[in-house]
Amino acid sequence: MRKYLQHKFALTEQGAEGLIRASIACFFGYLLNMIPAMILMFFLEGLLFTGLRGSAFYLLLSVLILFLMAFQLGLEYDSLFNETYRESANLRIEIAKRLTKLPLSYFSKHDLSDLSQTIMSDVTAIEHAMSHAMARTIGFFLFFPLISVLLLAGDFRLGLAVIIPVLADLLLIRLSRGIQVSGARKYYEQLRENSEKFQETIEMQQELRSLGLSLEKRAELYRTMEESERLHIRTELMQAVPVTLSGLIMQLALPAVILTGTALYLSGEISILYLIGYILAAMKIKEGMDGLSMFSAELFYLNARVQRIDAIRQTKLQGGEEHELKSCTIDLEKVAFSYNDETPVLRSVSFSARQGEVTALVGRSGCGKTSILRVISRLYDYEKGSIRIDGRDIREISTDSLFRKVSIVFQDVTLFNSSVLENIRIGRKDASDEEVMEAARLANCTDFIERLPDGIHSLIGENGASLSGGERQRISIARAFLKNAPILILDEIAASLDVENEEKIQESLNSLIRGRTVLIISHRLKSVENVDKIVVIEEGRTEAEGKHKELLKSSVSYQKLVENAALAESFRY
């Protein structure tokens, strides 16, 4: 049961348990709600026929039931509302944590806004459904069979008059489900697409303006909005038909009981009390059903969102065991990889990066250098061949174990909207403030940090908007210093630093490199002339490897690279 609910509504374990509790509370709520009607009947019987009992009796009875109801309502409230918000937090945290475990390939296939939506509004919708629709619906389905049996036992025909409209209504909801679900999903997908379009329009403003496309983009978005509006209306109409019908059926449930009951009463088959009792029961059940049809629409609408979250949960994680790496030599043999199945990026890459040595990858842009670094660090899993560290296939080493030993400095530095201090501390989360500052010093961040209004505690804006490229990269280097991992991967380092700081950065890079296994991509060929090994990559293959001097003789590609670099070097506009 718990598993089913957890899957059905994309809840956490705790949330599903809470939902079960809430459903039971709602079930008792529905039951208790019938009691006042029964007492009223009992009272009417006394009033009209058998004579009233003492007031003390009624007082005792009322107080008892009222206490019971108050207790139940309190419980129901806690289980519906209070628990919901805990669940929404848990769910968001679970998804956010799950995201860090997914292979990066997942992120290249999904858009930023799409994923953010999942965490944000999908959970909000689930949260709302949890506090309103889910438990009440389940509670009603527990309650309804029970009350049906009681009603049928009392009087079969009157019982049927109450139950048939409800059953017809339930059937209708069930039948219309297909239309509703597909309609809702279509619209929901449209919304998501719109959302992506908005995000793109906002992010691409620079391009849009400079290409003079603003007005065109506006017209396009206008059209999209109008189309969604039409789709929305269609969706709503499709949903309106069953909802209308079901509303109508329920409105007629009460008259059905009244008419049947009156006929039976007139023919002397039931007493007036029976008639009144069933009318009261029908009224209560109608109230429950009114809610149900609203809730079921909400739950249908939820389906697409639940699937979205489920997809994140079902995505295969990168496997591997905990393994304490002792040696840090990396061996690649005939490695092949592609981002999508069509275009291979790496065809056959073989080389080894020995422990404590610096290995540089060179080659033209797009030849696969960065992809090699990515598969080595398991940001993506390679497809063919083998990559071994410490003699083990890296796909058998858990990413946690691997990442503990690897630091990466990328050309695109991602920063977070928090302080410089916290951005560096990403490198090692348990680092003390002093250690962070030391890392900042080693990476030559001190000078620009001092210029910031609140020093190292200054906030740096969305994705570090207020920092320059050089400053960003220095923060990234500071992270690596802080992490102090034995394997260091440098991707296009020093590609956008400020001239004035470059020298200092270079010094600190050299001290960062010392004693580690280093893989480096540098856009400045000259800077890697002295490394232990240079690997030349050409269209996803290792073309040659060796020291600078050897390659100048043996590798045509390398010669060409060096020549081109020299040309660029001496170029004057």
Binding site: P36, F43, L48, L52, Y58, S62, A70, N82, T84, S88, I93, A96, T100, L104, S108, K109, L191, S195, Q199, I202, Q205, Q206, E207, R209, S210, G212, K217, L221, E236, A240, L254, I258, M283, E342, T343, R364, S365, G366, L379, D412, L415, K429, E462, S466, G469, R479, S496, D498, E502, Q506, R524, V531, D532, N564, L567, A568, S570, F571, R572, Y573
Partner: protein
């Protein structure tokens, strides 16, 4: 609540009649519902008091008719208001789109993209709720209780009084629940914060993965999540007592009344009438409860809706604040660029440029040099005309930049950005955007000149390869080359290169330099150069520091004296000779 509607209807001037129509239909529906209960009372009276079976049967049919009618009319009202709500939603989004088109880049620099998107997109959706569902529900919720009370008094004064008291008491409880109006704002704020943090988190997932920085160390998101949950929880807790009491009053209504009735009223009343009234009380109480629940639901959404509109309007206002205006001049007389005492700041109180003045004659190549934060990027951005300056004047061709039409600016100025971004369309389309009337050969030629040949060679579909989540990914250098192809195709008179060659690979850098030279010929070029060696022949070098030009001149002139430029060149030379120590 009514001011929200007034505000909202303002955005759908042509469809306003739909609001009144929905209002009318839902009032009508309430009338028929209560009509059904009126006949229910007739039915009970016939049945219990007059023992008139066939009369009761007729009344039962009338009940059925009334209720069915009410239900149909209600649906009509809902459909009408939905049409209105959807239109409103669309119009609000359109307004947001207009704002995006008009806003200055300062707005984009300062407002996180996730936040802007959420406000425009999601907030608009929230308003549809308060119109589509709430116009009929509001009306019903307001009119039904009144009609019910009226009916109760019609049946008997004591029933009327009882129901009135219950109604007033429940309103009081409702008021207690809604008491904390600040809550909604806190709630929405924390929701927005959550949205912005999430976008950031997902963007940084690579870093998060590598450094094993779990959510706990990613404090701002986990704090945003927890804060949001906590606010919601606290609010929910504060509502518990009144809400439970409120439900108890209605669900247990007859239980509250039976003991006193048995003591004080039953002995002195006609049992039949009393029975009939009690049953009616049971029914009317139930219906009243439903109406009040709706009011509650309504006001909750009204809060949300009101908040949503206010945020939207705030966003519009901040877009409008820095709105850039364009003129009507269609062409540049010449391409001299003048800054006259230009003041500019991204954030108030933190000026980047102060009274900056300079003159750049046309058809020359200028290189800007300076630290990060020296203002060089800001200067080139301002020349694009998409920022509103705080003071002074920027002129191109002798005319203030605001006097040109948007088209004139975009056609005459090309930008190769530091962080080149491509649209999710084919490579070919990405380039041809720069000049729509360009022939296919011209686009291919531009791709060729920008050294994009090797990119095309990688893909089977060559220039028709799609970029983005449904297509392929390109490296930073590759994207930049494609954006250079755009600039080449555009043939504009002013070219701005912002650290253009930073991410380009050695093999193609030289080709690219040639392409740049080709692009620069005969144009006014302002570049932020990365390779200091390559700018030695440019016409003029401007060295910036803290938003001021501290040196200006040719390479020769500047190298001749003890200049900052000379020091930079020396540093660059040394940095260039650096080697990674193996």
């Amino acid at each position: 609540m009514f001011d929200v509607y007034k505000k909202l209807l303002h955005y759908v001037p042509r469809e306003r009649y739909l609001a009144y129509l929905a209002l009318f239909f839902s009032a009508l529906s309430s009338f028929f519902t209560v009509g059904g209960y009126f006949y229910l009372n007739c039915f009970l009276e016939r049945l219990i008091l007059q023992k008139d079976g066939s009369g009761a049967g007729r009344a039962a049919l009338l009940i059925a008719g009334m209720l069915a009618l009410a239900s149909l009319i209600y649906v009509t009202a809902v459909l009408i208001s939905h049409v209105l709500g959807f239109r409103l939603e669309t119009n609000l989004r359109k307004r947001g789109i207009d704002g995006l088109t008009d806003a200055s880049f300062r707005f984009f620099d300062l407002t996180p993209s996730g936040k802007t998107r959420k406000i425009i997109d999601d907030n608009a959706a929230q308003t549809h709720m308060i119109v589509a569902h709430l116009i009929p529900d509001n009306t019903g919720a307001l009119i039904t209780p009144l009609l019910l009370l009226f009916l109760a008094y019609l049946i008997s004064p004591r029933l009327g009084i009882t129901l009135t008291l219950v109604f007033l008491l429940s309103l009081l409880l409702l008021y207690l629940m809604m008491g904390n109006k600040n809550f909604m704002e806190i709630y929405q704020n924390s929701l927005e914060k959550l949205s912005a943090e999430t976008v950031e988190y997902v963007r940084g997932i690579q870093v998060i993965k590598i450094f094993g920085a779990d959510l706990d160390s990613f404090k701002s998101l986990s704090r945003a999540i927890q804060d949001y949950a906590r606010y919601a929880y606290e609010y929910s807790k504060s509502c518990k007592k009144p809400y439970v009491l409120f439900q108890l009053i209605f669900f247990g209504l007859v239980l509250f009344l039976i003991p006193p009735i048995s003591l004080f009223i039953a002995p002195f009343s006609d049992p039949g009438r009393l029975a009939s009234e009690l049953i009616m009380l049971f029914f009317l109480g139930g219906t009243l409860f439903n109406s009040i629940m709706k009011i509650m639901y309504v006001s909750q959404h009204a809060f949300e809706g009101k908040y949503a509109v206010n945020r939207l309007e705030e966003l519009y206002a901040s877009m409008q604040k820095d709105k850039i205006s364009f003129g009507t001049e269609e062409s540049f007389p010449h391409c001299d660029i003048d800054f006259e005492e230009v003041d500019f700041s991204y954030l108030e109180g933190r000026p980047v440029l102060e009274k900056l003045s300079f003159h750049l004659p046309e058809k020359k190549i200028y290189a800007l040099l300076g630290d990060s934060g020296s203002g060089k990027s800001t200067i080139v951005k301002l020349i694009s005309g998409f920022y509103k300056i705080n003071g002074g004047c920027i002129r191109i061709g002798g005319r203030p930049i605001e006097s040109y039409s948007e088209r004139a600016l975009s056609e005459n100025i090309s930008f190769v950005f530091q962080d080149a971004r491509l649209f999710k369309m084919s490579i070919y389309d990405n380039v041809s955007l720069a000049r729509r009337d360009a022939k296919r050969e011209e686009v291919l030629e531009a791709l060729h000149l920008a050294g994009c040949g090797s990119i095309l060679d990688k893909f089977r579909e060559r220039e028709n390869t799609l970029i983005g989540s449904k297509g392929v990914y390109l490296s930073g250098g590759e994207k930049q080359r494609i954006s250079i192809a755009r600039a080449i195709l555009k043939k504009s008179r002013i070219v701005i290169l912002d650290e253009a060659s930073a991410a380009v690979d050695p093999e193609n850098e030289h080709e690219l330099q040639l392409a740049f030279s080709h692009l620069m010929k005969g144009r006014t070029v302002i570049m932020i150069a990365h390779r200091l060696s390559s700018i030695r022949n440019v016409d003029e070098i401007l060295v910036l520091e803290k938003g001021r030009i501290i040196e200006r001149g040719s390479d020769e002139a500047l190298m001749a004296k003890d200049s900052r430029y000379r020091r930079l060149q020396e540093l660059y030379g040394r940095a260039n000779e650096w080697r990674v120590e193996g």
